[in-house]
């Protein structure tokens, strides 16, 4: 059994052993091991030249990583909480995403970012901000929902030639999965995974919400409703083909997303399905997401902002049983 955290740490270490060009940068990732302990122990093995503590300068640390990548190194940056990536958006959007398109300079960069709520950290430490980047061509976005995918997608990210935003949901870190001694195989980008097979309703999600959808599918199955669960794995590239096939299969689609419903990536998914599979839908596509407000700190208020297993089950049930 391995935690999500350990799977990521072991992958970072393995890639660092394999390729001397790989190094880590971030705030308090050295002796402290990172805010969520992901890089614990790596300083001892690789030293301060390859496990670099930086000042609290998100823009400079991301920009520096971009420059190092352009010069041929393979930086992996940790943004302590994804909320803080707002301070580095310029460097990602205006530089990393455009280096190859304009200058033909590859930018093999990975930016790891702990995302999501559920721990009562409040409005500036709980967001899922991938929506800021999904409309910026030139960036790849990976959002694993279990330890094997975390390792497999991270390997692909670290060996590629492009900037990758790697989302690590905070609630996944301590969870455990069965994983062998060896690293799981790399997972190619752009291949969504069907984590549960069913014919009544299709649930689509990524990151922690894909984990919850799988749990919801088990409950639904016990109630006689078989749900098809699609875990996107990567938002960019987006595996539209698998999404559309899964939508056609059941004719009823529920997209589950953490973060405010307005402007969420769920809207893009819904549109893609509608464009390609309009004639196969038996009910309007539904979205289950947060309300349009910042995430409050109080446990009860926060819970009102994030889809739960119970809410997914209820919404899926309603959709599966709806007649039109």
């Amino acid at each position: 059994m391995k935690t999500f955290t350990l799977a990521i740490r072991e992958t970072l270490a393995a890639e660092m052993r394999r390729d001397p060009a790989v190094f880590l940068m971030g705030e308090d990732i050295g002796a402290y091991g990172g805010a969520f302990g992901v890089t614990q122990g790596l300083l001892a093995e690789f030293g301060p030249g390859r496990v670099r503590d930086t000042p609290i300068s998100e823009q400079a640390l991301v920009g520096t990583a971009i420059g190092a990548a352009a010069a041929g190194l393979r930086p992996v940056v940790e943004i302590m909480f994804m909320d803080f990536i707002t301070l580095a958006v310029d460097q990602l959007a205006n530089l990393a995403a455009k280096l190859h398109y304009i200058y033909q300079i590859p930018c093999p960069l990975v930016v790891r970012a702990p995302t999501g709520g559920g721990r009562g950290y409040g409005a500036t430490h709980s967001q899922t901000l991938e929506r800021l980047f999904t409309g910026i061509p030139g960036l790849r976005i990976a959002a694993p929902s279990d330890a094997a995918d975390a390792s497999g997608l991270l390997q692909t990210a670290m060996r590629g030639a492009n900037p990758v935003l790697f989302l690590e949901h905070k609630l996944l870190y301590p969870l455990r999965w069965k994983l062998g001694e060896k690293l799981p195989p790399p997972v190619p980008f752009g291949h969504a995974r069907i984590t549960h097979s069913g014919d009544r309703v299709t649930l689509i999600a990524w990151s922690y919400m894909a984990h919850l959808c799988l749990a919801a599918a088990h409950q639904l199955a016990a109630a006689g409703i078989n749900a098809e669960v699609v875990d996107l794995r990567t938002l960019a590239p987006l595996d539209t083909e698998t999404l559309v096939a899964a939508a056609r299969k059941t004719g009823r689609v529920l997209i589950v997303e953490e973060g405010p419903v307005t402007g969420g990536f769920g809207a893009e998914i819904a549109t893609r399905i509608f464009e390609a599979a309009y004639d196969s839908l038996d009910a309007p596509i539904r979205r289950l997401a947060g309300p349009d407000c910042p995430i409050p700190a109080s446990k009860v208020l926060e819970a009102a902002c994030i889809p739960s297993i119970a809410a997914i089950v209820a919404a899926a049930r309603e959709l599966a049983e709806s007649t039109n």
């Binding site: 190094f23 030249g49 930086t54 000042p55 300068s57 823009q59 400079a60 640390l61 991301v62 920009g63 520096t64 990583a65 971009i66 420059g67 190092a68 990548a69 352009a70 010069a71 041929g72 190194l73 930086p75 310029d90 460097q91 205006n94 530089l95 455009k98 190859h100 398109y101 304009i102 200058y103 033909q104 300079i105 590859p106 930018c107 093999p108 061509p137 030139g138 790849r140 692909t156 060996r159 590629g160 030639a161 492009n162």
Partner: protein, 316 residues
């Protein structure tokens, strides 16, 4: 680069920029451009100080920097015309050209946007001990971005082989330095990060070169970054179509008295045995080179619109 080579490069830059202004006014090129007329000595002084293998990052006002390190005016002009033969195959335009083979890692349309990037290039040089030093050019306005401070702090902290050259051309668009900087003595900001900061006359190519060489030597020795402020003047408007209503013609006329090309010319003419005809011939050659660049650009094919989404990502 001896005086003649410096002079030739400066004249080439001047002719290129004059042509760009002309082409805009004739409606032959589109978009925007920021020309560096009056600032040629900064670009050439830096280029003269660089060693092969060193790297340079530039700004939105980058034509001169690129030409100074040996860019092909034809491919630059083709980029201005949006042609497939341009440095960025028509994708970059005036503000986004690069040629890493020349150590030129690109201009940047974002004010100060290259500063951390330059730190990253320098970090690679430091980690792999390549001996490379990175020169990062910025404007006076860029010095007010947060990235300026973050980058200088990081570069100083990590002792990166970096030289930040600030082209203080007195204006950021319409904003004079005194309206943008709480302390207009920009070079003093080096002290905040415990690194050398010096100011030189940016209209004297030898002074720019000497100051940058000192900073490069220091960086190459492993002693870390420096800040070099080059005091100059942006003789043209900020970009095409700038009516320059925020400053007086008297001020501009005064600045023309100190422009770098005539100053270098005067200095070279004062040397025994100099031939005045050589200067005119140099100007003619530069004009011919730019005319050829324009012909090349105009004759070049436009990029194929079907390729517009190609290369968003590098092959993994």
């Amino acid at each position: 680069m001896d005086d003649w080579v410096c002079y030739e490069r400066m004249v080439l830059i001047r002719c290129f920029e004059e042509a760009v202004e002309r082409l805009f006014s004739e409606g032959r090129i589109m978009g925007t451009a920021h020309v560096c007329i009056g600032q040629e000595a900064v670009a050439v002084g830096i280029a003269a100080a660089l060693k092969p293998g060193d790297a340079l990052t530039s700004t939105h006002r980058g034509h001169g920097h690129f030409l100074a390190v040996g860019a092909d005016p034809g491919r630059m002009m083709a980029e201005m015309f949006g042609k497939a033969t341009g440095y960025s195959r028509g994708r970059g335009g005036s503000q986004m050209m690069a040629d890493t083979a020349l150590g030129f890692y690109g201009a940047n349309g974002i004010t100060a946007g290259s500063m951390a990037f330059a730190c990253g290039l320098a970090l690679e040089a430091q980690q792999r001990r390549t001996g490379r030093v990175v020169v990062c050019i910025i404007g006076d306005g860029a010095a007010n971005e947060g990235l300026f401070h973050e980058s200088l702090n990081l570069a100083a902290l990590w002792c990166l082989p970096l030289v930040v050259v600030c082209e203080n051309n007195r204006y950021a668009m319409s904003t004079p330095v005194a309206a943008g900087l709480a302390n207009t003595r920009l070079a003093e900001r080096g002290a905040a990060y415990g690194i050398p900061g010096c100011a030189v006359d940016g209209n004297v190519v030898a002074d720019v070169r000497a100051a940058v060489e000192t900073a490069l030597t220091r960086a190459r020795a492993g002693s870390g970054p420096s800040l070099v402020e080059c005091e100059t003047y942006r003789l043209s408007g900020h970009s095409k179509g700038d009516p320059r209503i925020y400053r007086s013609t008297a001020e501009e006329a005064d600045a023309w008295q100190r422009e770098p090309i005539r100053r270098l010319e005067a200095q070279m003419l004062a040397a025994p045995g100099s031939d005045p005809a050589r200067f005119a011939a140099c100007r003619t050659r530069a004009e011919q080179a730019i005319a050829a660049a324009i012909r090349f650009a105009e004759a070049s094919p436009a990029p194929d619109p079907a390729t517009v989404t190609e290369g968003v990502f590098a092959p993994d």
